[in-house]
């Protein structure tokens, strides 16, 4: 187990190296911030001075080594617009994103598993059909539209919930639901189909034949075996929420998290800040991946991971 954890961590470091390299290559080789940030009227000398200040006039390999050194020391450079360490700005916003993602995914997981199991118990019944239709609708809508629709209904028409910003629980509800619904749909569909398969296996029939109460058969035996695919998808949802969906949801609701920060930094061509965001989120995702692998390894000895 210890060796396994160590190997995963080493692999995580390799992934981080690649993330850093890709981020560096895309930002340095393709675009020069001197062209996008300085006004069109800037003279050639001003451009050169700006490039020199950022170290852009040095050879690419030298720049890369320097950049890696900086990242290793948690120095991502200063935000081009706010002129203060990019890392600090990202870390200030990170708790808000974590709060939103934790809230949204908790709703999704806590609702999806009971709903999926309930649907799987009686496939073809009314409960099953309603659950399937709602889940399919949930995973088919565009998240942007879902968010705007919720604002239209609950903020503009009913005026019961705020449409933007951060504050108490009432600010969390609409963005939380927007983040949760598509994930909920996918999780319900997977829970349902995995549970249908599990409930048709021989060990479940044996357990039933032995006279075990249905709640034990379903809850203890079947659900436990269905847990791995469900947890895998939940982990995937967590990663996708952090690395992408949150950008859309936070932008729709002006939620001051890392996703909204990414949107703002793109609009302002703040490449340094954007780099820091991608690398910090990449680090978080790699860490989550390692954590999930360890969890899987603990709950299911059959799992073989490289």
């Amino acid at each position: 187990m210890g060796r396994f954890a160590l190997r995963r961590t080493a692999y995580g470091i390799v992934v981080m190296f690649f993330v850093t390299a890709v981020v560096f290559v895309t930002t340095r080789l393709i675009g020069n911030p001197a062209n996008t940030l300085l006004p069109l009227t800037a003279t050639q000398q001003q451009r050169q001075a700006f490039s020199h200040q950022l170290g852009l006039d040095r050879p690419i390999p030298t720049q890369f080594v320097k950049y890696l050194e900086g990242v290793a020391h948690l120095d991502f450079g200063n935000s081009l617009l706010q002129s203060r360490p990019a890392l600090n700005i990202v870390l200030e916003r990170l708790p808000n994103t974590l709060e939103l993602v934790a809230f949204g995914l908790s709703i999704a997981i806590l609702l999806a598993i009971p709903l999926g199991v309930l649907a799987a118990l009686r496939p073809g019944s009314l409960v099953d059909k309603v659950t399937v239709v709602v889940s399919l609708a949930g995973l088919s809508v565009a998240q942007v539209w879902l968010g705007l629709l919720l604002i239209l209904i609950f903020a503009a028409e009913l005026k019961v919930l705020p449409s933007a910003g951060i504050g108490g629980l009432e600010h969390l509800i609409l963005p939380g639901i927007t983040l949760a619904l598509p994930a909920l749909g996918r999780l319900v569909m997977l829970t349902r189909s995995t549970m249908i398969d599990e409930l048709n296996t021989q060990y479940v029939q044996t357990a039933r034949a032995k006279g075990l109460p249905e709640i034990r058969v379903v809850g203890l035996h079947a659900l436990r075996n269905a847990a791995i695919p469900i947890l895998t998808l939940a982990g995937w949802e967590l990663i996708r929420a952090l690395a992408g969906f949150s950008v859309v949801v936070e932008t729709v609701f002006a939620w001051p998290g890392v996703g909204y920060l990414a949107f703002q930094s793109i609009q302002q061509s703040d490449v340094i800040l954007l780099q820091a965001i991608v690398i910090v989120m990449g680090f978080l995702i790699v860490a989550i991946n390692i954590g999930l692998d360890l969890v899987f390894k603990t709950i299911d000895r059959r799992v073989e991971l490289a």
């Binding site: 496939p123 705007l148 239209l152 996918r186 995995t194 992408g244 061509s269 991608v278 490289a306």
Partner: protein, 321 residues
């Protein structure tokens, strides 16, 4: 599947062709019968066919030029006048025509990305699964590494740097999508590697290329086809998200994502501007998902058996993962 192809190969050339044709017709007919029984799958197919027809014949169907402005008619609600059946947006552009033209972008991006990502992913997966060893390790390491990447954020970064356009969108979504195909293909191929008929083909002296194309590839049709359809749905949603963020299709062109972002500005005064493209996206994605789950059930013998054995057990779509 492959065994049957082998048997028919003994027949003379002309007979083989006729045999193939009859086979194809028979399986098409049984698929058609299946479809009539699965109303959800039929709905999906109808949606997809409609999408393609509307996109192809857009100039013939659309009542107006999608970018023609008529400021006198701005923000006309839907179902008010015959000239603008679905109303107009803030610049007085006809919503119906914009929806019709927007379907072209969705179809174009979807088809391109599925083709590029699907082909490259499948080829790499085949090579990895069939040859194993170093090729396998290399490809699967790249796949694992990229899956651990913050994919969407990286996509945002790349588009932000090279500038948004349809081409950028296709490139970024292809880079973000090939791993799924590689993983599935590699899994199936590696498990087939030890199948008796593959070993037999090799012993008889078939070249690797022939084994891969004639014996391995047919087994991949079902999972890869289903995956393509599902990925298509994902791409339509991704276009909407990226265009909303200003990183997708750019203004003179029309897309559903762009219409959502236009609508967001008039959310409180004109509900239809944001609602119509949202409904279009939801309908198309729902249709595609339903069609994909039907496709998986009919094209995969394993799933088929389960469906017929379990009769009422597996009613409707069995899951979209």
């Amino acid at each position: 599947m492959a065994a049957r192809v082998e048997a028919s190969e003994v027949a003379p050339r002309g007979g083989l062709l006729r045999q193939r044709f009859a086979d194809a017709r028979a399986s098409l007919r049984s698929a058609g019968v299946e479809l009539l029984h699965d109303r959800a799958g039929l709905f999906g197919l109808v949606v997809i066919v409609l999408l393609v027809l509307v996109a192809v014949f857009a100039p013939l169907i659309a009542p107006h030029d999608p970018s023609a402005q008529s400021l006198f008619d701005r923000l006309t609600p839907p179902f008010q006048t015959w000239s603008y059946p679905l109303g107009t947006d803030a610049l007085g552009r006809d919503e119906l025509s914009r929806l019709i033209y927007g379907s072209r972008v969705s179809l174009e991006i979807g088809v391109l990305v599925v083709l590029i990502a699907g082909t490259s992913g499948t080829i790499l997966g085949l090579l990895a699964g069939y040859f194993g060893g170093k090729a396998d390790t290399l490809v699967m390491r790249i796949v694992d590494t990229q899956i651990a990447f913050p994919g969407l954020l990286l996509a945002l970064l790349i588009i932000a740097v090279i500038g948004p356009s349809l081409k950028a969108l296709v490139i970024v979504l292809s880079i973000d999508g090939w791993m799924v195909y590689a993983r599935v293909t590699r899994g199936v191929t590696a498990s087939l590697r030890k199948a008796p008929y593959i070993e037999a083909a090799e012993i008889v002296g078939c070249r690797s290329r022939r084994v891969i194309f004639r014996h391995v590839l047919p087994n991949l049709t079902s999972p890869i086809l289903t995956l393509c359809v599902l990925e298509f749905a994902r791409i339509i949603l991704a276009e909407a998200a990226l265009s909303f963020l200003g990183l997708g299709i750019q203004p003179p062109d029309v897309s559903w994502g762009l219409m959502l972002s236009d609508g967001a500005d008039y959310l409180f005064s004109a509900w239809w501007v944001v609602s119509l493209p949202g409904i279009a996206i939801a309908l198309v994605v729902l249709g595609i998902n339903l069609f994909a789950s039907w496709l998986r059930v009919v094209s995969d013998p394993h799933q088929r058996d389960k469906r017929f054995a379990g009769a009422a057990q597996v009613v409707g779509p069995t899951g979209v993962t």
